[in-house]
C-alpha cells in the first residue's frame, strides 16, 4: 500500500487536532514534552493509524510504537508498516 509522506502528515494533523486538541504540531518536536502526549493518547493514535493503513496491527507492531516521540517518527513508523505489508 503506497502512502505519501504528505498525506500521512495531513491525516496526522487532522487526528491530532480532532482527537488530542493539538493544533499543527512541529514534526520534530517531542510530543510528550511539548503537548503532554502520553500512553493513553498513543493507544488512541494506534487505532487511528490502523484506520489509515487499512489493516490491524499486531501486538508486536503496537509495542514498537512505544518508542515514538515525534510526528516524523510516526510517519517513519507508518511508512515502515505499509512497506512490510505491501
Amino acid at each position: 500500500m503506497a502512502l505519501s509522506r504528505e498525506s500521512i502528515i495531513h491525516d496526522l494533523n487532522r487526528i491530532f487536532a480532532e482527537n488530542f486538541e493539538i493544533e499543527d504540531p512541529d514534526p520534530d518536536e517531542n510530543l510528550s514534552q511539548a503537548y503532554e502526549f502520553d500512553s493513553i493518547d498513543a493507544i488512541e493514535l494506534l487505532v487511528e493509524i490502523e484506520k489509515i493503513l487499512g489493516f490491524k496491527l499486531t501486538q508486536e507492531e503496537k509495542k514498537q510504537a512505544v518508542e515514538i516521540r515525534t510526528i516524523n517518527q510516526i510517519c517513519d513508523y507508518m511508512e515502515g508498516l505499509a512497506e512490510d505489508r505491501a
Binding site: 500512553s39 493513553i40 494506534l46 503496537k62
Partner: protein, 275 residues
C-alpha cells in the same frame, strides 16, 4: 486554604491507653494484611486464577472483598473511628471516578467500595515481585507504557468492554498524595479516558483518611474522634462535550471548593482540635 492533617483530641478515658491502641490496631491491620491474605484469600485467588472465566474481574471482586473486610476490621477495633459513604456512591457503575488523594488508605478505600473496578497504578509497582503480579492479574493499568507496553495496550483496549459491563475506573488525577490537603496539579489521563470512552466522570472527595494513617507516622492514629467520609461532589456527563482542559478546570474548582468546606467544617467543630 486547606491545611494539613493534625492530631485530634484524644477521646475521654483513652489518654493512658492510646499508645497501646495505636500499636495494637496497626499490628492487627498488618496481621490481617499478611496472614489474613495467606490463610483466607490466597486459596481463593488461586482458584480464581485457575477456574474463573473472567480472571481479572474475579481478582477485582476478591480485592474488593479483602479490603472491605479490612475496613470493617479497622472500624471494629479503632476507638473513635467511623466511616460515612452514601449508598449512591457504592452504586456508581460504568464511570471514571476521580478523587482527591491524601493517604495511602485512599485506593484501598475505593477498592472496598467498587466490586468491579480498575485503576491506573505507577508503572514501577508492576515490577515488584508478587505485588506486581497481583496488579497485572487484577487488570490494573500501568501509568506509563515504557516498561509495560503490553499491559497498557491491553488495558486500554479492554476499556470499552470494562465500562460496557459496569466497571468503575478510579483515578487520582493528582497522581500522588497531597500532604497539605491542597489539590495538586492534575494529570490528564482520567479526563482523556472518560472523553474517549464516552463515560461520565464522577467526582469524589475523601476526608480524614490522613488522620487515621498519617503521612509522617507508622502507627495508626486511634482513640480520636475521626469520621472518614466519601462525598460525591459532582459529575461531568459526556454529553456536555467539554474539552479535557475544561473538564480538568471544573473538577479542580469543585475539589478546591470541597476542600475549603472541609476546612471550615473542621474549624467549626471544636472537638477536632487545631485542624
Amino acid at each position: 486554604m486547606a491545611e494539613g492533617s493534625s492530631a485530634g483530641q484524644v477521646l475521654p478515658g483513652y489518654g493512658a491507653v492510646k499508645p497501646a491502641f495505636d500499636i495494637g490496631v496497626t499490628i492487627a491491620a498488618w496481621i490481617y494484611y499478611t496472614l489474613g491474605y495467606l490463610l483466607f484469600f490466597a486459596p481463593l485467588y488461586v482458584a480464581a486464577a485457575l477456574f474463573a472465566s473472567d480472571r481479572q474481574e474475579a481478582f477485582q471482586r476478591l480485592n474488593h472483598r479483602f479490603y472491605r473486610i479490612f475496613f470493617r476490621l479497622l472500624l471494629k477495633i479503632t476507638p473513635g473511628l467511623s466511616l460515612e459513604v452514601p449508598a449512591d456512591i457504592r452504586a456508581i457503575r460504568s464511570a471514571v471516578v476521580v478523587s482527591n488523594h491524601i493517604s495511602y488508605l485512599d485506593p484501598v478505600l475505593l477498592i472496598s467500595l467498587f466490586p468491579k473496578h480498575s485503576t491506573i497504578v505507577k508503572g514501577a509497582l508492576f515490577n515488584i515481585p508478587f505485588f506486581g503480579r497481583m496488579l497485572k492479574m487484577s487488570g490494573y493499568i500501568p501509568s506509563s507504557a515504557e516498561k509495560n507496553p503490553d499491559l497498557v495496550i491491553r488495558g486500554m483496549e479492554n476499556l470499552p468492554r470494562f465500562f460496557g459491563t459496569g466497571g468503575t475506573l478510579f483515578i487520582f488525577p493528582e497522581g500522588t498524595r497531597s500532604r497539605s490537603r491542597e489539590i495538586r496539579p492534575f494529570n490528564k489521563g482520567a479526563f482523556k479516558i472518560a472523553k474517549r470512552q464516552n463515560v461520565p466522570i464522577q467526582i469524589l472527595f475523601i476526608r480524614n483518611t490522613d488522620r487515621l494513617y498519617r503521612p509522617d507516622r507508622f502507627w495508626f492514629d486511634t482513640c480520636v474522634e475521626n469520621r472518614i467520609t466519601v462525598e460525591r461532589i459532582g459529575e461531568l456527563l459526556p454529553e456536555t462535550g467539554a474539552s479535557v482542559s475544561e473538564q480538568m478546570a471544573r473538577v479542580r474548582r469543585q475539589m478546591e471548593r470541597a476542600g475549603g468546606n472541609n476546612h471550615q467544617n473542621h474549624c467549626s467543630n471544636n472537638s477536632y482540635g487545631v485542624l
